[in-house]
């Protein structure tokens, strides 16, 4: 069904960014506009999701050029779920930023760039054209470069060199893949590509092209062995920015992997094995890295890498149950990962440091807040009945059915290490007494002297995201329904292709 309003999710953020640019240096107005824009975006995203859920796939042919010649925008359940989750993270981060980001950064355009980043994310989720996907990726990375460097502290600049170099390299690989794909099929529309690639005789060439996409998206989503830029850059920007990066940016890579490898390249034996092996190493390296780190945000960065492996493993097993599990994990992960970086920022506000050795006693001082944090951390670990638990059931079921024992062992190790790391963090930051620091390192509690309103701006987003994570855990059957629906769509893309091309393609 053609519906031109699906592009509203992209336009609202563009519009907000333009208004914010007009309000350059008026930071109070910017904060208000940013939150309002995010709320409107959330309403639009909810409407889009319900429309897609009720009526099936929506498409929009840009400027009326029919597919496969023009650029198509498609909202299926997968896309609209991602847009919805992005809007949740977006609203949490824009509220949190109102007090969580220094005024100096706002003066240099923090809010406009934040909304341009969200626009790029929504665009990437909604596009149905592979080159357009590349362009949205570039919109995302250029916005993320600015957010990462804004402020210009030494550590930030150091992190962003690695981040910049790896992301530009990933884009080049992606572009190379697109070039070859265009050369062998003569089309860029993903639905059309799906048909043309399936009809190709030369499967070896298809495998080689797909490697370009694995490398390109693998760098972006931090898959072994291309993940090392992530732990060396995600701990440097302000926590609000790190939350968007940790919750959404790596997940765009995962989204693109799922989209490309279920629609265009249907993985054969070789690709499936490759993805499973990559997943195993991603989980192991990520979890071992998390064990040795002592800074909260560095630990969380390695946990991102570790949990990316769960999703890639689900894709690699490629059964309907495995994909359901991976998608369920993706939904849970986007909410919780955004939240833990916001929590890291809050801890920094409370104590002025994120080094676990210098922290302590938070539970005695802020018992209620600690309880909220505990719920989030337990969701991340996956203690039943919280949200991280349910997707693992699906992954285990798929692993046993498929006899992928090495991957199962890796997932168990990954889950166990997550539990260990989170328990260590909880004990060190919340339970143990505040260690006495040398006089020159004495902390100042920035949180306590704040007015109640400013305090709530920091706490409300965390509670909001926690509530969503609780919903994912306690109403898991609803989320599982969505994940199963998407997985079923992925195993049979005919409705998607028919919706885009407007023709009957069933064999």
């Amino acid at each position: 069904m053609t519906d031109n309003t699906l592009i509203l999710s992209v336009i609202i953020h563009l519009f907000t960014a333009i208004v914010l640019l007009a309000l350059w240096r008026k930071t109070v107005a910017q904060r208000i506009i940013s939150v309002v824009g995010s709320v409107v975006a959330m309403v639009i995203a909810i409407r889009l999701f319900t429309a897609v859920w009720d009526n099936g796939i929506l498409t929009m042919q840009a400027a009326g050029w029919d597919a496969p010649f023009g650029i198509t925008f498609v909202a299926d359940v997968f896309s609209s779920t991602m847009v919805l989750l992005t809007s949740f993270s977006g609203i949490a981060v824009s509220i949190y930023s109102a007090t969580g980001v220094a005024r100096g950064r706002m003066l240099y355009g923090y809010f406009p760039i934040l909304h341009l980043l969200l626009m790029g994310l929504n665009g990437a989720f909604l596009t149905g054209d592979i080159f357009n996907l590349y362009v949205w990726f570039e919109v995302i990375i250029i916005a993320s470069f600015v957010l990462m460097t804004l402020g210009g502290r030494r550590a930030q600049i150091e992190g962003s060199v690695k981040y910049m170099a790896m992301n530009v390299l990933a884009s080049t690989f992606f572009l190379t893949g697109i070039g070859i794909l265009y050369g062998i099929t003569g089309t860029l529309n993903m639905a059309d590509l799906s048909l043309k690639i399936a009809a190709l005789e030369n499967r070896k060439l298809v495998d080689i092209v797909s490697i370009f996409f694995i490398v390109g998206f693998g760098i972006k989503s931090a898959v072994f062995p291309l993940y090392f830029w992530l732990p060396s850059s995600y701990h440097t920007p302000p926590s609000a920015v790190a939350a968007i990066f940790g919750g959404l940016l790596t997940k765009v890579g995962i989204y693109a992997l799922f989209r490309v490898f279920t629609l265009i390249f249907i993985p054969d034996e070789f690709l499936r094995t490759l993805l499973v092996v990559l997943a195993i190493f991603t989980i192991l390296t990520g979890s071992f890295g998390a064990v040795i780190k002592n800074n909260i945000r560095r630990v969380f960065s390695y946990l991102i890498v570790c949990h990316i492996g769960f999703m890639v493993g689900g894709l690699g097993m490629y059964s309907e149950i495995a994909i359901t599990g991976a998608l369920f994990y993706l939904i849970h992960d986007m909410m919780v990962k955004t939240n833990i970086f916001l929590i890291a920022g809050l801890i920094r506000k409370l104590r002025g440091t994120m080094n676990m050795d210098k922290l302590g006693g938070l539970y005695a001082e802020y018992p209620l807040l600690s309880l909220v944090v505990a719920l989030v951390l337990f969701s991340l670990v996956g203690i039943p009945p919280l949200s991280g638990f349910w997707p693992k059931i699906y992954l285990f079921e798929a692993g046993f059915m498929d006899a992928q024992y090495p991957l199962l062992v890796a997932i168990i190790i990954g889950s166990f290490v997550t539990l260990y790391v989170i328990a260590k963090l909880w004990a060190k930051v919340f339970w143990k007494n505040q260690p006495t620091l040398p006089a020159e390192e004495n902390y100042t509690d920035e949180f306590k002297p704040m007015s109640a309103f400013r305090k709530s701006l920091l706490v409300v987003p965390i509670v909001f995201l926690m509530a969503i994570a609780l919903y994912i855990g306690l109403a898991a059957e609803n989320v599982a329904l969505v994940a199963k629906h998407i997985a079923r769509d992925m195993k049979d893309m005919t409705p998607y292709i028919e919706a885009v091309l407007g023709t009957n393609v069933s064999p």
Binding site: V146, E158, V168, L175, G179
Partner: protein, 118 residues
């Protein structure tokens, strides 16, 4: 012509990757630029090179009858060039900033130890 382009693309990719693996940040940047140019030429080559046949329809004709140059690769390359121009401009400013801050061009000097984290 095709053979020449193939060799040129190969050389651009090879030198680009080689430069990426150097320690110097300026060489890293040059490597990224070379790789980007290689990718652009690759799209150009794979879009089939057709000489002297612009995709312009004669006003009397209704559709193309002859072999014509595909305009899409050029549109793609143009987009890619503009994007890489923006990225490279940013990268140059970033690297200059790094040089001002740490007074070194060596990527190995980019590691602030974990103890200095806040």
């Amino acid at each position: 012509m095709e053979l020449l382009l193939v060799i040129l693309i190969g050389v651009l990719y090879a030198t680009g990757i080689f430069m990426l693996l150097r320690r110097s940040m300026v060489k890293l940047l040059i490597g990224l630029i070379l790789l980007g140019n290689g990718a652009n030429l690759l799209i150009f080559l794979l879009g089939r090179i057709t000489k002297g046949a612009p995709p312009v329809i004669d006003s009397a004709a209704k559709f193309f009858t002859d072999v014509y140059a595909d305009p899409i690769p050029q549109a793609l390359i143009l987009t890619a060039i503009v994007i890489s121009f923006g990225l490279q401009a940013f990268a140059i400013v970033l690297l200059k900033r790094v040089y001002v801050l740490i007074n070194s061009d060596d990527l190995d000097d980019l590691n602030t130890p974990e103890e200095e984290d806040i």
